[in-house]
Structure formats: C-alpha cells, structure tokens
Amino acid sequence: MSDSWQPTIVAFACQWCTYAGADLAGTSRIPYPPSVRVIKVPCSARVDPSFVIRAFQRGADGVLVSGCHPGDCHYMEGNYLTRRRFSLAKPFMSYLGLEPGRVRVEWISAAEGQRFAEIVREMTGDIRALGPNRKMRERL
C-alpha cells in the first residue's frame, strides 16, 4: 500500500471528553491525517460492539472507541462498562479474523487534543501497514 492511501477510521467519541479533545486538537491547529470520521455519542458506554462490526462490514479500515479516563466519566461509571465490554469484544474480533490493530479503545480527555491527534496518526500508520480491510467487507 502506498503512503497516499487514506484508510477510513470510524471514531466513536464521547461528547464530554474525547469529542471535546478532538475539538481542542482543532482549536490548537494540531494536524493529523484526514482518515478519521467522528461519531459523537453521549458516553462511550453507548457504543454497542455491533456498531463496530457494522463499520467493518461496510468497509471501514479501523475503529476507535474513546471516552473519558476511568474515574472521570460524566456518568460516573460508563467508561468502566465500556472497558469491560470491549475487553471481551476485542478477542471476539480477532476470532472473526480481524487484525487486532484495527480496533482501539482509548481514554482521551477534553484536555488531550495532542493525544487525540497522536492516536489518529498512530492508527492511520498501523492500518496503512495492514492495508485495506477486505476480510469483513461485504461485497455490495
């Protein structure tokens, strides 16, 4: 794969921390690859693992699920639920034959614009190395 190939990364971002962190990357003008599309959710606990599978079925190359740091959840314990759910979901994805590097669950606070940009950069690089998602993509 050439460096010019732009993977598609669907990012589920909680509106209190990560979405605001992504906004901060913007207001701080921290550039990152245009691979990521953010879907705003109230809490990372709103992210159903089936959303992730659907994204891969429809051709996404990577998925990021991101919320507040453990202990900082606006809803007190939502991100603990996320952590538990995705600790199970990730092995399940590998079981389906998906490379583990395509899914990441990260805690990014509203103050971590730099970190949001870095994670997008990292993921984009990792996924470029893996190439497009062909395994789960449905022939449409």
Binding site: V10, P31, I39, P42, A60
Partner: protein
C-alpha cells in the same frame, strides 16, 4: 421521505480556506431527500440564521444540518433559530467541519473537502431519523433539605428559607453548630467564633421556614430532582423534646461524668445534657453508652429531677419520610487521628495536643475557661511548639493534599498564645506558609512581627518527654541546622479528612467521591456546588478542606442554585434520554444493572387473557433521573431500549454513510 436542508458555513476563511464549501453543498444536494442545500459566509450571523429560517418555512423542512463549527459552539444558536421558524429544535444536527476538519487538515484541500462531504453526509442520515422531541415537564416539590448543620449547612438553610422556601435541616448531632462551635476565635479578624455563630444558630432555630431535625441521619434517598423522597432516621434521645423546656436540671443531677469528644478529651460531660450551653435545639440527650440507668444500674436521678417528666428511657428511633425538591450536602470534615504519626507521641504524652484541643483551651466556655494550660499539670506553658502538616501533604502515612486551613489557624494560635502569655515563645514548624486569602498574608506577617512567633522552615521528626519538658527534634532548613526545643506544650496541626462515612453518604445520594472520599462537584471550576446528580448540591468541607469564608460562600452558592430550581413551577428535563419499547422488553433487567443512576425500575403489565389475568415484567425509565448516557441501550438484549437522539438506527446510519461516502471517494 423527510425533507432535509443543508447549510454549509464558510466561517470566513476558517472553513472555506481549506474546504471547497461550494462542492460540499453541491454534493449534498445530490443526497436523496435533501431538498435544499446552500453555503454562506457566516451562518451564525443574523443574515445566516435568516437564510435557515426562510428555507425551513418555504420548503417545509423536516430536518436541517448546519455544517459549521463544533456543536459546543453554536448548536444552541441554530436550534433556537430552527425553533423560531417552526422546526423542532431536536431535528437540527451540526456537522463539525471546522474543529474536526478544516483546522486540522490545512494542507490538503482535496482530502479535507472529501472528509467534509463524509461528515455532512453522516449528519444528513442522522437528522433524517431524528424525531421531534419535547422536553418533559415535571412538577417540583418546593421544599429543600440541607444535610449537615454546621456553618455551611446553616448558611445554606437560612439563604434558602430567606428566599421563601421551606427547608428541612438534618443534623447528626443533637445540636447544630458543627466544627465552628468548637472554635475559639476566627482568622484573620480574631472575631470570637461563638459571637458570630450563636446568633446564626438562634436564627436557624426560630426561622419559621426551617424545620430542624437534630440527632437524625438520612438513611435512603429515592426519586429525582424536583421530587426526592428521603428517609430520615431520628435517633432516640431518651428525652421528649416537645415536653422538655431546656432547664438542664437533669444535666446537673446526672452522676455519670465522661470524657467529652466535643472538648477534645480536655474536659468532661455528663451522660445526659448538651455539648455546650448555646446548643440549638437547647434540649438534652442521653448518651446510652454512659447512662447508668440504660446500662442497667439503679439510677433515676435525671428522671426524678425533671420538672416536666420529659425523660423517656423507653424511647425508640423513628423513621420519618420527607419529600423535597432539592438537597444540599454540607456534612463537613473529620480530623486525621494523630496516632498514625507515632513519632509525635499523640495519645501517649498528655502535653502533645491537637489543634482542635487548642481551640477548646482558648475558648472562653471551654474546659480551662479560655486559659492556655498544660494538660499534664495545669501550668502555663512558656515554650509552645506548633507542628504544621501533621498528616497533611503526607501521602505515606496521612493525606496527600494540603489541608489548606492549618497555616492560618496555626498563625492564629500563635497570636492568641502571645496575647495570653506575653512572655512565652511560640515556635512554628512549617513546610510552606500558604496564606492566600483576603488579609491572610498580612495576618501571618503580624504573627511574626508583632506577636513574636518564630517560624522554622522544616518538619519535626520526633517528640518525646525529657524531664517535665517535651523534647522536639526538628530542623530549620533555612539555616541547615537541626533544632531541639524543650517545649512545655506541643500542638499538632491536624490534617483535615473526609468524614469517615463519606463514601456511604455519597452512595446514598448518588454522588461521586474523589480518591480520598471528599464529594465530587459536577465541574471543579465552573460547577463547583452542583453534582452530577441533578438537584443534589454540595457546599463546604464535604468537598475538601476549606475555611469558614469559603464554606459560607459555597453555602450561599448552593442556596442560590436551590432557589433557582425551586422558583420554577415545573421543570424541563432533557428529552435525549432512554426510552423502552414495552412490547419488546423481556423484563430481564440487564439495563437496571447497567444504569449508573438507578433510573430504571421494573414494573408489571397485566392484561386479561380469557378469564384470567396475565402479568408480565417490563422496565420503566424514570424521566427525571435518566441522564441519557445510553449504557442501558447497549445492555438491552432485546433491542427494546433506545436512546432518543442516539438511537441504534441513527448511529448505524451514520456508520454506513461514512463508509459509503469514503468508499465512493476511493
């Protein structure tokens, strides 16, 4: 198919400098259902908003997407504009093509434009599935509860009551007053604590809108903002307070004298009576642990001495249920048991006391009548060592934080000591003097310059008796010399800690705590007296160490929040909350376990099948409590639970749109 409008903002060159906004508007016009698509230089300006309003009215739009900045900036603006034009405000979506697109991809116009198309496309798919929503209106119980009757709780209760709303003030002890009632004078003005506290206590006692529930504790809270139901346990005082007139004959007659916690071990109290003479309510209680009668001995002295026959040895606790619209938590703080710092010998050597004991000693109504005397022999101490940070800034054995108030009260103690014993010397071991506050630094300077206290920059490592003195081994890091002082009295500036049962209380009121057990505010900077549970407020040292001035300010802050809430007849709640389809719900209750707010309750549906009734369990979302996090939606195995505004089909449509547009762009 719903008619959708798309409005792409240039934001001057902020967006248009990178994203080809015309192309985005053109592409969006091709999406099925999009009947209007245009771009404009500043959508948030009046002309921009007018464009939107006109399009809504002319084309009967049933949903609009504003592709501009982050929703945190202008979502309220565009929702209001849409509502004015007759569109439900919840059928407005923002597509964030500034913070999350043009500003972060400045060097690649083509990619930025493609990404913008994807972002707007997803928003179109989402808004197409947005239902018109109406905020719920729930009636409000116009009454508040304040838990904790120290200076913070009293101030909050008085402010709320003065605003015209009834208040129930719940206090765990038999009297209000809290920690401040134990203090002698207050910094930085040296006002006598009782002189400013007791009038306030009396005001609370006689305020027609304040109902005082002393010697009571909250057991359980249910309901939600506007309508809480609170179970309060009234502990038995063994005195009929309604009959009692407060003559305290009983206290005088009682033969059981025990160490008084209020006097910090320096004085005694009777097994029946009040902690201090100005107690409000001015009613005695029996301490069952020390009452001879209740311990089975032959003693009726209090009962016999009572002129109104108010002593009731058989009294039992009562549970009272109250309904209130808002709750203020102001239960204050505890103090670190100084025994954890074994090197200072607190508890072993009588002349090593803590700061609260010093307050009692200096208090004119205290055990020494306001004179500073060594506990061991009653002599007036001529060399007094104050040790600050006794357990504060000590993550190893004490508390990691700075207790904030000790620098000031220690300066106050040294000043008061100098006033009482002019030929005595006060030594203060400190780590850093933190005197940020109005008049505080000046007070500390006066303590040094006029009241002759010697500040020594360093800590004390060990304290032990030598002869009839106490040897204090410390250091002065400014001169780099170890210091030994043969002191007559050592005063430890005790770390402030959360109440030992703070976590239990946090659980009852569904409020978060920090790592130490102090209650968490909703936002440490901008929402300091709110909590993440609507209708529950926090003020004072329950949040962390603070002095009287700060506590009083927070109390008034919390009171104003309560008054704001109670001033409304009904309360609007955010409609973006969970919703259950009873037909699909199997009653498995997984959602109940997932909900962090206890907002989901089970209920039973009954219907007649033939001639018998069939009952089926389902769940119900309490609209006043649900905060709209969506954890339940994911937990639901039946697909019966959904989050309005973030329904499964909406998020899946966003996912599909993103992937589809990205795929077509490859």
């Amino acid at each position: 198919m719903r008619k959708i409008g798309v409005f792409v903002c240039h934001c001057g060159l902020n967006i248009a400098g990178t994203v080809d906004v015309k192309r985005v508007a053109e592409r969006c016009a091709e999406i099925p259902g999009v009947v209007h698509s245009e771009d404009y230089s500043y959508m948030c300006s009046d002309p921009g908003q007018n464009l939107i309003a006109e399009a809504i009215e002319e084309k009967d739009l049933e949903g609009i997407v504003v592709a501009a900045c982050s929703p945190t900036m202008h979502e309220p603006t565009f929702r209001a504009a849409a509502e004015a034009a007759g569109l439900n405000p919840y059928q407005v979506q923002m597509a964030n093509i500034r913070e999350q697109c043009s500003w972060v991809h400045p060097d690649d116009e083509e990619e930025a434009t493609r990404k913008a198309e994807g972002i707007v496309g997803a928003a179109v798919e989402k808004v197409r599935r947005d239902e018109p929503l109406v905020p719920h209106e729930i009636p409000i119980t116009k009454k508040a509860m304040v838990v904790g009757g120290g200076i913070t709780g009293m101030q909050a209760a008085l402010d709320i009551a003065d605003a015209g709303y009834p208040v129930i003030l719940v206090e765990r002890e038999a009297t209000i007053g809290g920690r401040m009632a134990q203090l002698s004078e207050t910094f930085p003005t040296l006002d006598c604590a009782s002189c400013i506290l007791t009038p306030k206590m009396a005001e609370v006692g006689r305020h027609p809108l304040i109902e005082l529930m002393a010697y009571s504790e909250v057991e359980e809270v249910s309901g939600s903002v506007g309508n809480f139901r609170v179970r309060v346990r009234q502990k038995p005082t063994y005195v009929d307070w309604d009959a009692c007139m407060g003559c305290m004959q009983c206290q005088q007659q009682c033969p059981s004298e025990v160490e008084s916690e209020f006097e910090r071990g320096l004085g005694t109290k009777k097994a029946i009576g009040v902690d201090f003479p100005q107690a409000i309510p001015n009613r005695p209680k029996i301490d069952p642990e020390h009452c001879a009668h209740l311990r089975g001995d032959f003693c009726w002295l209090c009962s016999r001495s009572c002129p109104v026959d108010a002593i009731d040895y058989e009294q039992e606790e009562r549970i009272v249920e109250e309904e209130v619209g808002a709750i203020v938590l102001s239960t204050g703080y505890d103090m670190l048991p100084q025994e954890v710092l074994g090197e200072y010998g607190y508890g072993k050597y009588p002349d090593v006391i803590d700061s609260m004991a010093f307050e009692r000693m200096k208090s004119s109504s205290g055990p020494t009548g306001g004179e500073i005397r060594r506990p061991s022999d009653g002599e007036i101490p001529k060399e007094v060592v104050f040790i600050q940070c006794a357990g504060s800034r000590d993550p190893d054995k004490g508390q990691s934080y700075c207790s904030k108030i000790c620098c000031m009260y220690t300066a106050k103690h040294a000043t008061l000591y100098h006033h009482s014993v002019p030929d005595g010397q006060a030594y203060i071991f400190y780590t850093d003097v933190r005197a940020g506050g109005k008049g505080y630094e000046e007070f500390v300077q006066r303590t040094v310059e006029e009241d002759n206290a010697l500040y020594l920059r360093g800590r004390v490592s060990r304290v032990y008796p030598e002869g009839d003195k106490i040897l204090v081994k410390g250091v002065d890091t400014l001169s780099d010399e170890n210091v030994e002082i043969h002191a007559d009295l050592v005063v430890l500036a005790t770390a402030v800690t959360p109440r030992t049962d703070a976590r239990e209380m946090a659980r009852i009121f569904n409020v978060g705590t920090d790592e130490h057990g102090f209650l968490n505010e909703a936002h440490i900077k901008l929402r300091p007296v709110e909590t993440t549970t609507p209708g529950v407020y926090v003020a004072g040292a329950v949040r962390g160490p603070r002095d009287i001035s700060d506590a009083a300010a927070e109390a008034s802050g919390a009171a104003s929040k309560v008054a704001m809430l109670l001033s409304r007849e009904e309360m609007e709640t955010d409609p973006l909350i969970a919703e259950v389809d009873e037909g699909d719900c199997s009653g498995c209750l997984w959602c109940v376990a997932a909900c962090p707010f206890d907002a989901i309750e089970e209920k039973y549906l009954t219907r007649r099948v033939g001639d018998r009734e069939v009952s089926r369990r389902v769940v119900e979302v309490n609209v006043g409590v649900c905060q709209g996090c969506g954890a339940c939606t994911v937990a639901c195995r039946d697909g019966a639970m959904n989050l309005k505004g973030y329904k499964d089909e909406q998020i899946l449509a966003e996912v599909e749109s993103i992937c589809l547009i990205a795929g077509s762009q490859q």
